[in-house]
Amino acid sequence: MKLATAFLATALMATTAHAQEPIRIGFITTLTTPAAAIGNDMVDAVNLAIDHVGGEIAGHPIQVIFEDDGLQPELGRQKAEKLVRQEKVDVVSGFIWSNVLMAARRTVLDSDTFLISTNAGPSDLAGKLCSPDFFSLRGQNDVVPMALGQIMNERGVEKLYVMTPNYSAGTDMAAGVENTFEGEVVGRDFTKWGEDPQLDFSAELAKVGASGADALFAFYPGRAAIFARQFEQSGLADRVKLYTVYTFDQIALPTLQEAGIDVALGSVTVDYWSPDIDTPANVKFVEDFKERYGRLPSNYAAAAYDLIPYLKAAVEQSGGDIKDRDAVREALIRADYESVRGRYSLARNHFPIDNYRSLEIAPDANGAWSMRSDGLELAGLVDPYVDQCGNDS
């Protein structure tokens, strides 16, 4: 009898101990430098998501360790190293920047840890460097400008001028748009970027005016206010429609509104998510985010939010043990959960096959500048790199 009680007690202890062992998530993002606004948005979204799922996955409390990459790939790699070796996390996630993700990739994947990007989508990871243990919560980088090129075709744009900064992402964005755009590209400018970026675009904008373009494509991440202000001053807005990617986002729009740069209103961008998507999960996310933090969430926040329900669904569907990696991987590939964007499936390279919606910058019901779907939608876009990926499924 005594023995039986002892046995029962031990068994109980073992279960509780097992149940209390947390699921540990390392989250690498940017928490210093001007880009900290993006990182903080992601951190807020993850914390909100944890509260929404009740703080646990299959009975295990969720523990997230946030790390700052300081915008530096090398620092990001060191933080990944720390998360994997010291903190022994089950999942490394986050990543705003493609170069940080590429630097941290080996460290995480070589130590049999799941790597889930909530924003960065470098072409290499979608193609020849894809991995069974890597997952992304948003499409590969190039899909967005390619979708925008198609949107411009649908809207009847005939002559396009292209302006992007002169670095890898800038030239990629330009190439992506020009890849799908069927009209005439009447001019392009790649402006100086990096340590000492060119911030006065007067010469380029004057050329846009003289080129006779009816649309301007721009990609100026983090410089939305400067670019929009100068576009406004150039007086081009009456004749030239502005199309952007990764520039007028929910991080930049409050600043633009505060500075009264009205020219941003009516410009068009494209994304897989916007605050006005009408799914129950998204309404709850946007409403609660607004209530708790007093602002609209960005697309960075939306993908970071999805991480927690995605992981919860995958672990619980595969038996509740995150250490059972094969089963969890199977479940992650199924992606059977309520994402804020609605349901989606993964391509072979584990990037989502998303619908991309044409979004117009417009005030929402409360007057805050936001993105509003204008009805155009491209279904099921897959990036061009998936064929180079060696994953089985």
Binding site: R188, K192, A203, K207, I226
Partner: protein, 306 residues
């Protein structure tokens, strides 16, 4: 259509040149008269932009921001001169570089703590945000406004230096400080005045540029390098030289960026041309400086008395 574009680019170049002149004038006077290397000149450019932006956002009036920022920068300039700079006039150039570089780091960090790392965007009144049609050519109103303000400031500066009693004392102190003092000119006052006026000129430059590029940390540090190039080309201590060189550099930079890609496009592939063009435009500026240094080591218009 091409003339419209050309006039636009010309205006852009002149506007950049005038902003450079506002910076270079102060730098050149301080360097020429006090023999003081002021790397922290860009700090006042940044502070002017930030103070103007703050007031403009709070009050909704850019003009009010302008009016408040000027005396604020003047006071900051006088304080900097009185607390730090005047103790370094007689020290060697390395000490001056070190102390002003330290000032740059302190100012950048202070701005980060006060205003955050994000940078500010300045609202413009409607009458400045639009365009002006001049003889069939539409020009951005704000660029014209910059040109007008900077031209007035340049003219006023020239009149003060060349025609007034204070200007005469400044010129006297610059030519021979000991003799000027022996004749009863309070050179310490003159130096403080010149430093503070230089700070205000830089502040005006920052204020003017803020609605275009926004106010951001370290915005003055890059442009101060260009301003140094300008005073080397123009001749250190010469206001006229600084003016000519600033306009020249502004035009080279803007016209280079505008036309080099299409000129290069005749020879190279379009993608090479469009990325090499802007790089070549900035190389052109330094090439000009090198040529000036080789053939006229003291600049194009060195002050006669030096």
């Amino acid at each position: 259509m091409d003339t419209v574009l050309f006039v636009n680019q010309l205006l852009n170049g002149i506007q950049l040149g005038l902003i450079l002149f506002l910076l270079a004038a102060g730098l050149s006077l301080v360097f020429g008269i006090m023999d003081f290397i002021n790397l922290a000149h860009g700090v006042f450019y940044m502070l002017g932009a930030y103070i103007c932006a703050t007031v403009a956002i709070a009050s909704g009036s850019f003009i009010l921001g302008f009016v408040v920022a000027l005396p604020a920068v003047l006071v900051l300039g006088l304080a900097t001169e009185w607390l730090i700079v005047r103790h370094f006039y007689k020290r060697d150039h390395l000490d001056q570089v070190l102390v002003t570089f330290g000032l740059v780091l302190c100012a950048d960090t202070a701005v980060k703590y006060l205003w955050g790392p994000q940078g500010l965007s300045v609202p413009l009144p409607a009458w400045l945000g639009g365009q002006v049609a001049l003889g069939g050519i539409t020009l951005p109103a704000y660029r014209l406004f910059i040109v007008a303000v900077a031209a007035v400031v340049a003219l006023a500066l020239w009149q003060v230096i060349a025609r007034t009693r204070v200007g005469m004392m400044v010129r006297a102190s610059a030519s021979n400080e000991e003799m000027a003092r022996a004749l009863g000119i309070e050179t310490r006052m003159i130096f403080a005045l010149v430093f503070a006026i230089g700070a205000v000129l830089a502040g005006i430059g920052g204020i003017m540029v803020a609605p275009i590029t926004g106010a951001s940390i370290g915005m003055g540090n890059q442009i101060v390098i260009l301003a140094l190039v300008v005073i080397i080309i123009g001749g250190i201590g010469s206001i006229f030289g600084a003016f000519v060189a600033a306009i020249g550099v502004g035009l080279i930079d803007t016209l280079g960026r505008a036309y080099l890609p299409s000129i290069l496009g005749a020879v190279f592939s379009p993608s090479v041309a469009s990325s090499a063009g802007p790089a070549l435009a900035s190389i052109l500026i330094y090439l000009t400086m090198t040529l000036v240094l080789v053939f006229r080591p003291s600049g194009l218009f060195p002050p006669a008395n030096r």
